[in-house]
């Protein structure tokens, strides 16, 4: 199959699936119209000011290709046990033979749910206006994704591993939907990785994950993004939180050449709680732009954010943390921190807390720092006999450890630490 530049692909998006219900075909057509009219986000759009799309437009991409992965390859690449619950997608294509789904729960690929009332209703709530052409592209062309729908009271005790593998130069559009009914509980460990012995990802992942939490539902979600050094990723997460529901999300971005990662959370009903934490570990010429947007739309909701970015070499990190407290959202409790570490004079980090508070009864704090490794601390550590590279690693580890410690699930902590330790060996050389 021939490869086409992204700019042409979006002019003639391929509509996925022939056996689709009418409502979905209509959504796709509508999205295609918007996409053709607006294109990808324009140069100069405030929301995209740090991430130029110019070079992406000419990127040559092809339709997703099968990766033909074996189970041992999968387990080794993702650090999984054979008995771990898992949903596996390779270049966006569902790998039924590699997946292991716990019995009795509605966990499947999205395509197997196309004709269900639940999918139709869940897909109606997705906002129809966004400044992001990637969203339109996703709706137009997604070919499959993860679908989780837990009924009221359903609890999956063991974590579910959600693996997305890449390889080659495919354009991958994936749509994932997670919906937890009243008091349902799920622990999700998501990984974006390359498979061992597979061609590196040079394509574009365009993913959208929609999360719906009903009353008192709880989702613990860790995400490790460790794609290869040439991958491009646009990853958008939309979350709607019901009464007293709880979302705990930890994000590690250490892979990819060019990454844009959006996390939008709407605290729609009283007492909802969200914690979004992240670590960005960047080197080489990596570019990673994280935007979070938390909307307090109901009373007595809580939001917590801690982001840490370490940038080495010529890498570039962005954290933009929008918090909007709507009128009447009394009893809002919101805290945001963004701490950043520059390891090289050529690295760059932009951090921007962005608070908009439209009500009075609010406790809101935010803080941002950008610094280098503390010279006094380095001297102190070395004066006990620890050499300079080891002392630097100790301090870098200390820097992100705070976020790792906030992860409740041990397997997820492990996945974070393993990945960070692995890339650690190559970071901090220029300090």
């Amino acid at each position: 199959m021939s490869a086409l530049p992204l700019s042409e692909l979006i002019q003639q998006p391929v509509l996925a699936g022939k056996q689709e219900p009418l409502w979905l075909s209509q959504q796709r057509l509508q999205a295609a119209k918007y996409l053709q009219a607006s294109g990808l986000p324009a140069e100069g759009s405030e929301n995209w000011r740090y991430s130029s799309l110019r070079r992406l437009q000419t990127k040559l991409l092809e339709q997703p290709t099968e990766l033909h992965l074996t189970e041992p390859q999968l387990l080794a690449s993702a650090g999984l046990q054979a008995t771990d619950n898992r949903m596996v997608f390779a270049n966006g294509i569902y790998q039924a033979h590699l997946s292991l789904v716990p019995a009795g729960l509605r966990i499947s690929n999205l395509n197997s749910q196309l004709h269900t009332a639940e999918l139709e209703s869940l897909m109606q709530t997705v906002p129809t206006a966004t400044d992001c052409g990637f969203s339109w592209l996703n709706t137009t062309a997604f070919n499959d994704g993860l679908f989780i729908h837990l009924d009221a009271g359903q609890v999956l005790e063991a974590p579910l591993h959600f693996i997305q593998l890449g390889g080659g130069n495919s354009l991958i559009n994936s749509r994932h939907i997670i919906s937890l009914g009243e008091a349902a509980k799920l622990t999700l460990i998501e990984q974006f990785i390359e498979a061992t012995e597979m061609p590196p990802t040079q394509g574009l992942f365009n993913c959208q994950t929609d999360v719906h939490l009903a009353k008192s539902a709880r989702l613990d979600w860790s995400r490790v993004q460790a794609l290869g050094a040439s991958a491009v990723l646009v990853d958008r997460v939309n979350c709607w939180l019901g009464e007293n529901s709880h979302l705990h999300s930890s994000q590690l971005d250490c892979g990819g050449l060019w990454v844009r990662h959006d996390v939008d959370v709407a605290l729609n009903e009283p007492g909802a709680f969200v914690e979004v934490n992240g670590v960005l570990m960047l080197r080489g010429r990596q570019h990673c732009d994280v935007h979070t947007k938390i909307v307090h739309a109901a009373i007595n909701c809580t939001s917590r954010e801690t982001f840490k970015c370490i940038a080495d070499d010529r890498s570039r990190g962005v954290f933009n943390g929008k918090i909007l407290v709507q009128p009447g959202a009394d009893g809002t409790d919101s805290a945001q921190r963004s701490d950043n570490l520059l390891l090289s004079e050529h690295a760059r980090i932009d951090t921007k807390p962005d608070l908009e508070i439209l009500t009075d009864d609010v406790v809101a704090s935010h803080g941002a720092t950008v610094g280098q490794l503390d010279e006094d601390a380095l001297f102190y550590i070395r004066s006990r006999g620890i050499d300079s590279p080891a002392a630097k690693k100790l301090l870098m580890r200390a820097f992100y450890q705070q976020v790792v410690e906030l992860i409740a699930e041990p397997r997820a902590q492990e996945a974070f630490t393993a990945k960070l330790d692995q890339i650690f060996e190559h970071t901090g050389k220029s300090v």
């Binding site: 001297f379 070395r382 004066s383 006990r384 006999g385 002392a391 705070q402």
Partner: protein, 249 residues
Amino acid sequence: MILEIKNLHASVEGKEILKGLNLSLPAGEIHAIMGPNGSGKSTFGNVIAGREGYKVTAGEVFFKGKDILDLSVEERACEGVFLAFQYPVEIPGVNNTYFLRAGLNAQRKYQGLPPLDGAEFLRLVREKLKVLELKDDLLKRSVNAGFSGGEKKRNEIFQMAVLEPTLAILDETDSGLDIDALQAVAKGVNALRDERRAMLVITHYQRLLDYIVPDRVHVLADGVIARSGGPELALELEQKGYTWLGESG
């Protein structure tokens, strides 16, 4: 001789602080260094420990007969130099025990010894803790983070007790300590006092020297050793201050 310093000149940010310092510290001895604020005592400690930015412009420093001025901070530590900081640094996120074990094992590696495993290290720590009466939970916390002034100083001495250096330089370890802590620190210091080691105790107060009796007392003023004497010199300084030094010496 543990430490032999000849005509040491050192500057910080282009400003000369040490201006021809001479000092000999034989094995088995403890010397006290006193002197006015800003006279260069901490600078001296930093120079011996090898801190970057402290430039030696002239003179020599021999440690166990070996010139150490070209060694890095960590190499000096591994050779057996220990500095108890006047202001111990807080390092949030680095576990106190982990840190100390990493330091000890780095030094052991340098000395060609096998690393201590978790259990062996814990045994050593328990033993040292008893001497120092340090609270157990301080070990589980991050290095000095949120420690009180006294706890930080005890932690310095605890590190010294575990690392067992040949030369320890204690920079105002007694400042800000209550009587109990002072005695605990003195106990830690005296436990390490033996024929193979030596110590330099920088202090402003004669009080510490009641517990740690020094062999010699030196006065560092304006970057040089202005006067040296026996323990009685500390008493004299306590009564008269530093101004009389200029008159008589």
